[in-house]
Amino acid sequence: MKKSIVRALTGAAAAAALLVTSVVPAMAETVTIGIYEPASGDNGAGGKQETLGIYYANSVAPTVEIGGVEYEVKLDAVDNESNNDKAVSAASKLVSDGVSVVLGSYGSGVSIAGSQTFADGGVPAIGVTCTNPQVTLGNTHYFRICFLDPFQGTVLANFAKDNFDAQTAYVLTKQGDDYSAGLGHYFTKAFEELGGTVVAETFPEGNSDFTSYITSAKNAGADVIMAPTSTEAAALIIEQAAAQGVEVPLVAGDTWDSNVILNAAKDKAVQIYVTTFYQEGGNAEFDEGMKEFINADSTNLANNGGDDTVAAVTAMGYDAYFTALEAFKAAGSIEPAAVNEALWNVTYDGVCGHIEFDENGDAKRNSAFVKTANTETGAWDFVSEQSIQ
């Protein structure tokens, strides 16, 4: 008796819920990909650029054939607010929306924070640009298509040593940011192994006064300043480094590959070098399509930071989408468990290079691009392609 009442109630409620969601006209068959990205907070700028790549990919390939049936691919984006605390409920929202696979996130912290929720919901996830090793370590549902921080840190350390003959490096990381702490750690390790000394400092959340940090870097006699931070802090660091007449180069990882950095550095006397996944011009067809997509819509343009520079994370988002489609095809099903199983053997040649996963679920990648900000043209100039043995 009681059971039937409850069932009736849940039924009615579910019907009501359906009514709310069925505003979108029903298509024949749909498969949903969850986008787990920050749209606000520290990493909002990067998250939006990454999301743009995914949306563009969706406009290029809106359908996919799975097991002989044509499916329409729906995207379901949720904002994790760059906040490990809010990330859990954002992740449960995606799981409860019934997505088959999740893409994201920009920023390693939120990826690690949401990981357990995806695992409990049985949904596999493909990390796009979360480079911290902890994302995929010790689980079987998180994959990623980018390189890792131990690799990136070593590349940066080698680069600083070889190109600037750096003896002392000043490493500035953000407190409580897993990406920042991780990359700073691996850079320090590699740099010290090369015989250099590292002076390390951290800044707290919400800090906007970097003057004294820059003074400390100068006083330490640093030959290079390494600042793996979010773009938000990066813009302030660049601005204040320029104001204080810093002459040594600033180096950073993939987060700095953004037009936010280019705008901050424009017409200023600073040298900036970053390691990244993609160099604009690497795939002309993709660049052209992407720019057209960005310029076609004012919201897209605003989300890309006001111009049509193609960020590496955008290209990575594009690749991630197609990797997910490959997984659907290989699985022959939209069941999350089957997709998860299929992902292990997926291979895909994307605009950022070849993707296949190792036993941790990490992409096998052994090269990174190094770019420098051209402060006159406000664009990235290619420096070299680096790999380590």
Partner: protein
């Protein structure tokens, strides 16, 4: 709770637990309703911390803003002590596995979370409880910020993992767990409020000087209220850590304390049931019910205006402002929810004094 309310109360609690278990078993994680479970879990945890804050601000009249700090201490204690030894190498990867090499059972961890938070509170309380009203508020807020910086200090990394995330500790598997733990803790707080201590707390709240004249030892009672409140804040911190499956000092900031304070005030300062009800409502609104406002909706050819990412929060803060301005007493004022009143329709006037100064 009156004697004659005991039986219906127990029946209701049993029914509630059965219902929760039923919901948990029958809602698949992929359904729209899975968010309901998330909200219920988080709501029950916030209910505990809100009641613990109410014990201080509402019942003892001590204006403290350190609740998030004590939650953080609890969450860290729990996480640090219960991460399985074999996972430590991975969690403390920048600190060679950290200095702690054992793992305590989950329940011991929870109790210790409360104890450690209480010890910190006792020590902090010795100097700061002499301060009055707003000065006490800013001092406790300051202590929370200092603790947060301390926990994130790289030099303590082998213990706290620096500013990095702690994870892989045991979490709860059923929704009953946070409900039962929170429920028992709230029941203990209610018992304390109804004891002689509780009456002394209220006397202090209503008039410190009069209370002292009547022979109440101010320092002693304030310290008890502060320590007990922090003990339960610590336990709710441990529960929150379990709920989130990972914990990091940076999220326990002043904004979190304000959020808890908002819950207490919306529920009604000086009402335990008010705090509980408003916790669930607050969490449901902020994390679930309003999410549709963040999505663009198209009806026919018309795109509904204003609705895009972030709109949910604007609406939510407007709702809060309306409550604060027009429903000053909060949901329950300083009354308590009661069955006899509910069923007989007889309205009972407030029994405590006024909640404000």
């Amino acid at each position: 709770m009156k004697k004659k309310e005991l039986i219906p109360g127990l029946i209701l609690i049993a029914a509630l637990l059965v219902l929760l278990r039923y919901l948990e078993l029958h809602i698949s994680p992929q359904s729209q309703w899975a968010m309901l479970l998330t909200v219920l879990k988080k709501g029950s945890i916030y209910a505990l911390v809100a009641v613990s804050m109410n014990l201080l601000n509402g019942f003892t009249g001590l204006f403290s803003l350190g609740q998030a700090g004590f939650m953080m201490i609890g969450a860290y204690t729990y996480a640090v002590l219960t991460i399985p030894a074999e996972q430590r190498e991975m969690v403390y990867m920048y600190y060679e596995g950290g200095i702690i090499r054992f793992a305590l059972p989950s329940i011991v961890g929870i109790i210790l979370a409360g104890v450690v938070a209480a010890v910190f509170a006792f020590l902090i309380g010795l100097p700061v409880l002499r301060l009055k009203s707003d000065y006490l508020a800013i001092a406790t807020l300051g202590f929370a910020e200092i603790m947060r910086a301390l926990f994130q200090w790289d030099t303590l990394g082998p213990l706290t993992n620096g500013s990095n995330m702690l994870r892989s500790y045991p979490t709860f598997k059923t929704i009953l767990y946070p409900f039962i733990v929170s429920g028992v803790c709230i029941a203990l707080i209610v018992m304390l409020i109804n004891s002689t201590y509780g009456r002394a707390f209220k006397a202090i709240r209503d008039d410190e000087i009069a209370a002292e004249a009547m022979g109440i030892n101010l320092a002693h009672h304030k310290r008890i209220a502060f320590t007990v409140s922090s003990f339960f804040a610590g336990i709710s911190g441990a529960l929150l850590a379990m709920f989130q499956t990972n914990v990091q000092a940076k999220s326990f900031n002043s904004a979190m304390t304000y959020e808890i304070l908002l819950i207490v005030v919306i529920g009604g300062i000086g009402s335990v049931t008010g705090s509980v009800i408003s916790s669930f409502l607050f969490i449901a609104c902020s994390e679930w019910l309003l999410r549709f406002l963040d999505e663009t909706h198209v009806i026919g050819d018309v795109t509904l205006p204003l609705m895009r990412s972030g709109f949910r929060k604007v609406v939510f803060s407007l709702i809060i402002m309306v409550i604060v301005l027009f429903f000053r007493q909060g949901i329950m004022g300083n009354r308590e929810f009661s069955f006899t009143r509910l069923f007989s329709g007889r309205s009972k006037k407030s029994k405590g004094g006024k909640a404000d100064e």
